[in-house]
Amino acid sequence: MIVMNLKLNNIYAFNNFEISMSYPKKIVNSNIEEEFLYERPNFRYKKLIVLMGANASGKTTLGKALKGIFNFISKKTPDPLVSCINDNTKTASFMIDFITDTNSNRLYRVAGTIRPPKTDSYKEEDIDVAVKHVAINKNDSYETCISKLDVLTDKKESYIKALDEVENFGWNFSFPSQENTIRSLKDLHKVGFKDMLEIILSSLDPSVQEVVEARDIEDSYIIKLSGHDLILKDGKILNGEILSSGTRSGIDIAILLTSITSRQNGFYYCDEKFSYIHSDMEKEILVKMVGKLGHNEQLFFTTHNSDILDMEFPKHTFVFLKKRIINGRSEVQCVYADDYLKRNTDSLRRAVENDLFSIAPSVSRIDRL
């Protein structure tokens, strides 16, 4: 699953928002291998998107908006989508260009308009959805494909029927809050979750000696520390208070990394999972995540850690979100690092430290305390 472009209006704090995941030219000696669609070298997409920005700039809600749209497209129920609407007295809209999986080589465009409901809740007739898709030929780029999409006409049909045209696709969102507690670890167990968990937890905390599968409790693990045994069930540790915050967050990281390694989902959104984790560890795990991404997969990675800026990823990897309040209405804007820094020698970190992109939080009020 690859998202190529997303437009949002009246979804969370996003108004007239657009983010693009294509990049203009091939990068020589890039540290991200095969950053293009499988067997379609001209179809360049960003395999890794490092999203940065001040607090409340929209990093998490962008993930939630994508999650809502994916669920809407996949389940064909309006609830996941309409729960993202900011002002339900006004029309909301989205438009997403994406590719579903390795074999299809098909670019989809789903555009949705959600009108204010006439009754208390949204009904099918309040939602218009147009689905278009084109085959991606051997030499096509994203730009040539969207020009083909643009000339297709919209069909008038219900969103349920329209969305039937879209192939299945997977996703994996990992948010810092507890809302995304894991369904079952069974699937992950088959693809090496236990070993991954042991490596991650023992790297974060040397007192973690071993992780073993619990025999008596289904779908659970025992984390063995010197003198203590902890039980991990449903992605949560029982009596986990003796672990540090960082070690506990290692569980979600192990889950996500196992999913990436085993190519379970294809699309990954890792939202600030490293707030409690040492910077070196974050960088190392990010490298591993990117290295394990397969063909036609994509990773969104949000962080506040400025050490990530020093990593030798292509500049187009870095996208900054900036929120402004204009006439009482919030507008989130994307700032692409490669729009500003064209030379290889340009330092991204120095640009951010000098706030070239005007993304630094306004600290003047704190200063006045």
Binding site: D346, S347, R350, A351, N354, D355, L356, S358, S364, D367
Partner: protein
């Protein structure tokens, strides 16, 4: 962009203007911007703790105040600090509104929001000087601020 810059401006309007000049027009050296009135408030060491070593400090201030003693004290104080590489002063004549009228081809402030207002050579000179590339000392000066 190999050096660090820190701008101190009088109000949020100047903050916004610097943001536009820095990011949208890319015509001044990029640096972080803080609202701090250098004409009325004095710098202390604690204010400079978050600065990186050898930061160029740029003071943007109005000149419509008759009392420049605090400004002078601030400049002297900043020049003594090892964390500060140099102090650059950008005085506005007399304040932001007057400065905009002066450096643009307009007669009244409201002209700046009409389509007829076009940046004239003086405005371009102001931007150029702010970037530290000009030889004219018409608007910007370094260190002393005099």
């Amino acid at each position: 962009m190999n050096q660090y810059y820190q701008y101190y401006v009088e109000g949020e309007t100047e903050e916004k203007i610097l943001e536009v000049l820095k990011t949208d027009f890319r015509c001044i050296m990029p640096g972080k911007v803080k609202v701090f009135n250098v004409i009325e408030e004095k710098f202390s060491r604690s204010k400079l703790i978050s600065l990186k070593r050898k930061t160029n400090v740029v003071l943007v201030f109005d000149t419509d105040s008759s009392d420049s003693s605090t400004l002078r004290a601030n400049i002297s104080f900043l020049e003594e600090q090892s964390v500060v590489r140099q102090v650059i002063c950008i005085p506005q004549v007399k304040n932001l509104e007057e400065e905009l009228i002066r450096c643009c081809n307009i007669r009244k402030m409201k002209g700046i929001i009409t389509p007829r207002a076009s940046p004239g050579p003086r405005r371009r000179r102001l931007l150029c000087l702010s970037k530290g590339q000009g030889t004219d000392t018409y608007v910007a000066c370094t260190r002393s601020g005099e």
